[in-house]
């Protein structure tokens, strides 16, 4: 029996995880796959395709090609930054789009307009 099985929430982590925690781990997994992508592509091929400045060499050290040298802590840090960025984007987008949604017909906030 594992220690984590003493907690029903941990034993069913895929069901009980919070959206922000899930986003954080998903971002780390994406970074890991990107790092393996950097490991898989041949830099010469990127140069031949003329993509080195467009996508892959964007910012030197922060390119996908450089990610092949990143260690777990760096991947986790990058995952954390991506997750935080997506969270901020969601909040900003929510704050922008919410006022555009019409209020329910009988809602208190509904401004009565009599034509």
């Amino acid at each position: 029996m594992r220690l984590i099985d003493r907690s029903p929430r941990a034993a069913n982590a895929v069901r009980t995880v919070s959206p922000s925690g899930e986003l954080f781990v998903a971002s780390i997994v994406i970074c890991m796959i990107l790092a393996s992508f950097g490991d898989a592509v041949d830099p010469a091929w990127i140069g031949e395709a003329g993509l080195e400045f467009a996508i892959f060499d964007f910012g030197g050290e922060f390119s996908v090609l450089a990610m092949r040298h990143w260690h777990l802590l760096q991947l986790m840090l990058a995952g954390g930054v991506i997750a935080a960025g997506i969270m901020v984007l969601r909040i900003v987008a929510g704050a922008f789009f919410r006022p555009l949604e019409p209020a329910a017909p009988r809602d208190v906030e509904k401004v009565p307009i009599n034509l």
Partner: protein, 305 residues
Amino acid sequence: MELDFLSAGFLSALFAIVLIDLVLAGDNALIIGLVARNLPKQTQGKVIFWGTFGAIAIRALMAILVVYILAVPGFMLAGGLALVWIARKLLTPEPNAGADHLAKAPATTFAGAVRTIVIADAVMGVDNVLAIGGAAHGSVLLIVLGLAISVPIIVWGSQLVIRLVDRFPSVILLGGAVLAWTAYSMIVREPLLAMWFEAHPATRLVVAVLIFSISLAPWYSERLSEHMKPLVVLLPALLIWMLGFEVAASVWKVQVDYLLARDEGEYLLEGLRWIGWLPLAALFLWTRERLILRSVRAVRSTPPS
């Protein structure tokens, strides 16, 4: 791979070892309690001390042994494949968590109690030592440091660990992801496959996605709608299909890249590679649908008791 002390690589490996140790830790306290519960009070203290000491000693010995075993060609690949299964098992929900344990009967003698504790810990720790052996990159110092940090936490701070994973279940998902990443790095480090991966660099990405798609399947299948569930089987199967052609091309010395194909047979092979999986996927979906329909009909036709 040689890692400099306190470098980013060293600290990353240490973090991976401690995390893997925590999420895969066995419940030593429960086992010790169960084994020692029928012993006299004065013997219980000794059993707890020697049981814990023996468990730590056997764990350290096994982990160091694994580092040397993984250096033997072939074992890195086998260990990586085992880690994929371990990560998948870690993420699979356990509805009856805590119902099963290894020590069912209380011991009656001091030696019997210590032996039961040590054997139970060794059996529970096989997956754990394999994972930390893979994450240690062949460094015994990392193994010893990782165990020195995590074992006291598990033995004396198990409640702390339980509260941490109970408050943040994402730690378990992170553990699964780190296990999958360790499995990937073990498979691509396999000495028998190093040359092949060097000649086929693109397969590294396929292997990485394959490993993540198998080990994290319990997680993403929870989020998929019912009609998208077959993806859990189809995605890894498609990646294995593609990888199989690369392996076959190396073994039988045929060309599966259409830009380099020389005769009709090789063009046919290339066509089979890209669209040959479609009838198999359709057959799988059709069979799955038939089985679901059959089980629904069986449930409907069963008279209510």
